[in-house]
């Protein structure tokens, strides 16, 4: 699992590649911590190459969402695969996020 943080056009972007399974949760959470510290930016989570997401991964996304919304900004999920989208749908979290 690889996580890359970038800034582009005033947004902060996390690019996730691989499987966000239980084993990958701690390192991904640490890698995504800059998203929690960003105070004046919208957040984009690029899931184009994210193959799988577990409950721990959903919790990371929810943490980013809560933190970003508290600062008056938005979280967008980009390039999500059908399998990962299905997880968001069956857990009922799909309408919390905006998809690009």
């Amino acid at each position: 699992m690889q996580t890359t943080i970038q800034e582009q056009e005033g947004n902060i972007i996390a690019i996730l590649e691989g499987s966000l399974d239980t084993a990958a949760v701690p390192e991904t959470e640490t890698a995504m911590s800059p998203l929690l510290e960003a105070t004046d930016k919208d957040v984009i989570i690029d899931c184009t190459d994210l193959k799988y997401i577990c409950s721990g991964g959903l919790r990371i996304f929810l943490g980013v969402l809560k933190s970003t919304q508290e600062k008056g900004h938005q979280v967008f999920i980009k390039g999500i695969s059908n399998d990962v989208r299905a997880v968001f749908a069956m857990t009922g979290f799909i309408n919390l996020f905006k998809f690009k």
Binding site: S55, T91, K98
Partner: protein, 356 residues
């Protein structure tokens, strides 16, 4: 600095005092504004605007030219600092006044309720003016309180030069009065409507609480009240038990339009919808979740599955499922994929086969 040489010696002296007092006036204006703003906020009173100003030197010079002899000292001029509170409703003017009385020392000798100055059959400037001082201060300031409609009338009348040197013919004065009367009527009607709506909300709340759900129309207010009864809690917990999942709280209000699109008209209809579809919604959720180890669910899971099941039982098919996702997630071509997935999962469940 303008000289204002046309003013007499007394007026010149008052003007000089004003210049010296100006920093204290600025400080007073800001402090009084801030104290009032905080007090209104603490009492939960929403006002359209609070504004403050220190009287401009030119404006004061104009006033002194007209009636400078009336003021012995600069502190006899009570509107050097002005604060104006504009409320949405006429009832709120009195609430603001009550708060002002509590936080400022009000000089009742000089305060005027212009609302009470009119004859019973005349209409005009309606505003409540208090002359106040800070509890620890001695510089007076004027606090004007009026509704947004009174403010509009007053501003427009001022812009027309109603109080200018040119004498306005009686017929035009009558037209201003007619408009003031209309504004007063509108203010009263808005206040009355607010009371009626507050009563209606309380009535709906009591109907929901007492279980008379068939009498409650399905509106945003009613649905919000209904949600306080946690009508989806039991099904959520049952679904969550499948994977010992935690339930993450989310708003269910986006589902209101889905329920309305089903033709449900009362909260009673929603209750029947829950009762009639709970078992099938549980089966659908289990068919999705049991093959995963997902142990976190949104609090919308129960309602979402209830909606999906209802649409399928109504024969709305994939399009019906997609319409639900479009309504709660926003329109997205990917919703068609989700609809296909749900349709496929549901196809093996008893309620789908019973239909066939």
């Amino acid at each position: 600095m303008a000289a204002y040489t046309h003013l007499d010696a007394h007026a010149q002296e008052l003007l000089q005092d004003y210049r010296q007092l100006r920093p204290a006036l600025e400080k007073l204006a800001q402090e009084a504004y801030e104290i009032l703003r905080q007090a209104l906020s603490q009492q939960g009173i929403y006002v359209t605007a609070i504004e403050y100003r220190v009287k401009a030197e030119a404006s004061l010079a104009g006033k002194l030219e007209l009636k400078g002899a009336k003021y012995k000292t600069i502190r006899n001029i009570t509107d050097l600092v002005g604060i104006r509170v504009i409320t949405s409703y006429s009832d709120d003017v009195d609430k603001v006044a009550a708060i002002a009385k509590r936080i400022f020392d009000v000089d009742w000798q000089q305060s005027v309720d212009k609302r009470k100055l009119h004859e019973l059959n005349s209409f005009g400037y309606n505003s409540l003016h208090y002359i106040c001082r800070m509890p620890s201060g001695d510089i007076p300031f004027e606090l004007q309180m009026r509704t947004a409609l009174q403010h509009v009338w007053s501003t427009l009348v001022h812009d027309t030069g109603y109080k200018s040197d040119v004498k306005i013919p009686q017929e035009y004065i009558r037209q201003f009065s007619r408009l003031a009367g209309m504004m007063e009527l509108l203010d009263d009607e808005f206040s009355r409507l607010r009371l009626v709506l507050a009563d209606y909300r309380r009535h709906i709340q009591s109907l929901v609480k007492s279980g008379q759900l068939d009498e409650v129309p399905l509106s945003a207010d009613a649905f919000r009240n209904f949600l306080q009864l946690q009508p989806f809690d039991r099904l959520n917990k049952r679904i969550a038990a499948v994977n010992q999942a935690e339930i993450y709280p989310v708003s269910l209000m986006p589902f209101l339009r889905v329920l309305q699109s089903f033709g449900l008209e009362t909260i009673g209809d929603v209750q029947h919808f829950i009762e009639e579809n709970t078992e099938d919604a549980y089966q659908l959720a289990v068919s999705q979740l049991a093959i995963t180890d997902l142990d976190i669910l949104s609090a919308s899971t129960a309602l979402q599955n209830l909606c999906l099941v209802y649409a399928l039982k109504q024969g709305r098919g994939r399009e019906g499922i997609k319409a639900i996702y479009d309504a709660i997630n926003g329109e997205d071509p990917a919703n068609a994929m989700l609809a296909d997935m749900v349709f496929e999962q549901a196809s093996t469940l008893p309620f789908m086969n019973a239909k066939e």
